[in-house]
């Protein structure tokens, strides 16, 4: 195995699972997420000589996952928002309450348009800054703000106000 391949293999093996989790949140399907990670890592392998360190490689791979996911959805006609017919009622019955909430949020996140979904995953799961999210999505910071805002607004509309979904900026304003 060449030095290049060895360094790449170490990176891919150490970060593969984490990348898969983020990809899964973006596409909502484990197998599709695996395909997405394989494709993104292939792009990273091609670019490896100019990436040189793992931090740049991870940022590059994350960007590849995000843009490839959005492209796949666009090309395969999956980009349409998928409205759900079920309005989610909250019931005060302990643990099942939390599970119901989680599944409801998951269902509604998956129904969002791909760019809004990607923005929410990058901001709130990956904990990226707006600038980092913009880099990963190949868009302007303003676009990230609008995508996040639109995504949260739709979730509130679908889930009701009793599930607290407020962006950090909105939280500051309401305090």
């Amino acid at each position: 195995m060449s030095k290049r391949d060895k360094a790449f293999a170490e990176f891919a093996q150490s970060r593969g699972a984490a990348l898969h989790r983020a990809a899964y949140l973006m596409v909502g399907d484990s197998q599709l997420a695996q395909d997405l990670v394989q494709e993104a890592l292939t792009k990273t392998y091609v670019a490896w000589p100019r990436l040189r360190d793992t931090s740049r490689a991870e940022a590059y791979t994350r960007k590849a996952i995000t843009t490839t996911a959005i492209t796949w959805f666009r090309r395969k006609g999956w980009n349409n928002e998928r409205p759900t017919d079920v309005l989610h009622d909250r019931r005060d019955d302990g643990d099942s309450h939390a599970i119901t909430d989680r599944l409801a949020i998951w269902q509604e996140v998956q129904a969002l348009p791909p760019r809004q979904r990607a923005a929410l995953v990058l901001r709130y799961y990956e904990d990226l800054t707006e600038a980092q999210t913009a880099e990963a999505m190949s868009c302007a910071i303003g676009t990230v703000k609008s995508q996040v805002s639109a995504g949260l607004r739709k979730l509130r509309e679908r889930l009701g106000n009793d599930i607290e979904l407020v962006s950090p900026e909105e939280a500051v304003m309401t305090r």
Binding site: A9, R21, T67, I105, S138
Partner: protein
Amino acid sequence: MTEELKTMMTRQADELEPFSPDIDAITGAGRRRLRSRRFGAAGAGVAVVLAVGLGVPQLLGGGSPDDSRDTNVAVTESAPSTWAQGSVIHVGDATVDVGHPVHSFVVTTAGFVSTDPDGKVWSTRDGRTEQVGEGTPEYGRQLVADGSWAGWIESQPGQPARFSFMDQAGDEKVEYSDGVTPDSAGEDSGSQAELFALDGDGAYLRDSNGLVRLDLGTRTPETLLADPGIRDRIDDVEQGLVLHTFDAEAERGPTVASEEVTEREPALAVDGGDLSPDKRFVMSENSADSSDDFTLIEVGTGADLTPPAKGDYAFFTGYAWIDDSSYMAFGIKELPQGDGTGKAAPPMPTDLLRCDAAARTCDVVQPGLDFSKVELPVGENIGD
């Protein structure tokens, strides 16, 4: 706050089954993608009338150059199958031992130019092999060729890259450097030196100025697209028509065939590729939508002329044009499943095929090579 959203995402992700990427599949696909971007630069193909002195001992040192040339094996369109294994280059049933392990090689109208694993560059002509360069980049494409010319990049640690060219027919050599561009191992990815293609007297390359055409006759560089950080690539050039691809970072950009490298449309249904000598066709290992998806189209009409033989193999791609409408391809019947450890791959029986673009037909001309042991005349090590 968004704690519920975060919690939901974390718990959903935590419920996933553990996933480990298939490293062998990734590196294999990555290598093929790199190669397919470079097939176009490897040369006009293997169809040229070639007199190379295929290791016939009695010819060495005897007779005039013209005499030896007359008695050398002439490789014509009837014997386009060219591959290397170890130090031996095979041309149909004939062979030449170049005296070093062939790491990569190209075919010119006068002979072969090859590299060894140490990065040295060798010229083989009229039965003799001599070193003509050193310091080729460790990875990726090492050699390009067109007609009797071959080219490569030389670099030494801490030194700017130097583009080197030689006319194997006339022994003319040209060297060019802007004095600042690092080689492909440079930190600044956008300004690394890269040699894309040769087309007649023109060498197409990237240096610190951007995309450049170097006139090998006058040794005059012409900047085609001034952008020191540009990562767009030129895939091939034939008779002034430039096949080029916009690099959109992680997102693939369109591949376009145009006289000007600034054109961004119309997008072709391929990702990179190799133009036929008459620039009518382009073939690529990757379609615009999918990797490892050999596609051959007519440039002018966009007609898909991918041969049905593609379906006979687990992996199939064209790699060199023989003439304006014929090309060489290879097909691998069955791809071994990697175990993720990167260990040496098992044998991969591979057929070399001669195909007709317009008729969409292919015939096996060399069956049963082991893909893991051979090198094809694409200017790049297939195993890297």
